[in-house]
């Protein structure tokens, strides 16, 4: 190969090419691809774990939300029950109060009637006693007036005699 600078030999270039091509193929099949496949496999493994963790997290969050909803529902139910109970209590209480009031009124009316009756009775008996007492007093007075009038007439006569 005279005339070619630096002794460039095309046949040797082809041999170098053949050599490198074999090396490229061998390294690709024997080393590069299996290692890359393994890396991809491991990435997938961790992605799966990550995915599973994400799914678990999502499921937990859903469950938590469900429980929260259920708790709030229960709270509402409890609140409604309390409200209902309070209303019932209020109703019973007001009924009881009304009954007590009615009873009290009844008792009061009875008492008033009784008092009225007693009063009537007392007045009647008092009137009777008074009339008896008046009668007796009148009798007494009538008796006492006649005696005192006689004494007075005596005294008046005595007095006129003395002056006169």
């Amino acid at each position: 190969m005279t005339g070619v600078p630096l002794n460039i030999d095309w046949q040797q270039i082809m041999l170098h090419l053949l050599n490198f091509t074999i090396l490229f193929g061998a390294l690709w099949i024997l080393l590069y691809k299996p290692v890359k496949d393994f890396i991809a496999k491991r990435e997938k493994y961790y992605e799966d774990i990550d995915q599973k963790a994400q799914d678990n997290l999502k499921a937990s969050e859903t469950e938590r939300d469900e429980y929260k909803a259920r708790i709030s529902q229960l709270d509402q139910e409890i609140r409604a029950e309390k409200e209902k109970a309070r209303e019932d209590i209020d109703k019973v209480t007001s009924q009881r109060i009304q009954e007590a009031r009615d009873e009290a009124e009844q008792i009061l009316n009875d008492a008033k009637a009784e008092a009225e009756r007693q009063k009537e009775k007392i007045i009647t008996s008092a009137q009777k006693e008074i009339s008896d007492m008046v009668t007796e007093a009148t009798e007494k007075l009538a008796l006492e007036q006649s005696a005192s009038d006689a004494f007075d007439q005596f005294l008046d006569a005595a007095e006129r005699t003395e002056r006169g």
Binding site: I8, H16, N19, F20, L23, A26, L30, V35, K36, Y45
Partner: protein, 291 residues
């Protein structure tokens, strides 16, 4: 390790180094060198004389290095495929971590560059592994016998111009294939715009690795330079080249691949106001005012 044990290890290491040093002096041959340093360095560039036999044909030593490096890498990949990869675990060990890191590095580089990245990642992985291992192979100093019966240390495969041209041109063709995959025939046009790319890719590799090879040749030619200095030379001109050139070629390939395979239309250009028309308008207004 306790202080006493550390001291003991250092002493043993120093004794071994001393033994090797003495052995290197004792085993020095008195045979005169057949090549001058100029010839050695010229041959490292041009491969005129020192050829090795491969499959019954005299070839540059770089090609033999390439075949050996490919063999080492394929055997390593095969061992990994048979014994290591089937035992991969979700929590990786050291070797698994190393393999996954290297593969992920090139895979991410490919994914970051282009949407069409199925083969790109594998290509830059193979190219990066070949350049890196091939450059480090130089450090091993594997001996081979030339056609002239001389012993040579096998160089990096890509310090051979033919290997570098192969890598540069193949990368260019690969970039073109990305252009075709992304944009059809328009992709070929896009790739051809970067006509200097195969030359720059080839000669960047060749220049970088040849410089390392030349410095190594120079250092090992003289016995006196062969002590301690190769440690620094090896790191500077081989280890760093291995890393840098592997990164540069793979990065450039993926970058250009992504560029030519990108099928998004360019943003519309804003129309520039015609300067001459505007000037005439201003001139007309001035004339009217004057009138």
């Amino acid at each position: 390790m306790t202080k006493k044990e550390r001291r003991k290890a250092i002493i043993i290491f120093a004794v071994i180094a001393l033994v090797f040093l003495i052995a290197s002096f004792l085993t020095a041959s008195n045979v005169p060198k057949t090549e001058t340093v100029q010839e050695v360095m010229r041959d490292a560039v041009l491969h005129d004389s020192n050829k090795v036999m491969l499959l019954g044909r005299a070839v540059n030593p770089g090609l033999l290095s390439g075949v050996i490096v490919s063999g080492i890498l394929i055997v390593f990949a095969l061992i990994c495929r048979l014994f290591v990869i089937p035992r991969f675990k979700i929590v990786p060990g050291r070797l698994q971590m190393f393999l996954e890191t290297v593969v992920s590095l090139f895979d991410n580089m490919a994914k970051g560059s282009s949407k069409i990245n199925r083969v790109l990642g594998a290509y830059i992985f193979a190219a990066g592994a070949y350049i890196f291992t091939g450059t480090l192979f130089e450090l091993l100093g594997v001996q081979a016998v030339t056609t002239e019966g001389l012993s040579i240390s096998l160089p990096a495969p890509l310090s051979d111009i033919n290997g570098a041209i192969m890598m540069g041109c193949l990368s260019y063709l690969f970039i073109m294939s990305g252009g075709v995959a992304g944009n059809g025939l328009k992709g070929i046009g896009k790739t051809l715009k970067e006509y200097s790319l195969p030359i720059s890719l080839s000669f960047r590799l060749f220049g970088a690795l040849l410089s390392g090879a030349l410095v190594t040749e120079l250092v090992y030619y003289y016995s006196s330079l062969s002590y301690v200095l190769p440690v620094f030379v090896g790191v500077l001109f081989t280890l760093l080249h291995a890393l840098i050139q592997a990164y540069v070629l793979t990065m450039l390939t993926s970058l250009f691949y992504g560029q030519v395979s990108d099928d998004t239309p360019p943003p519309p250009k804003e129309k520039k106001a015609k300067k001459t028309g505007r000037k005439n308008k201003v001139k007309d207004q001035t004339d009217k005012k004057a009138a």
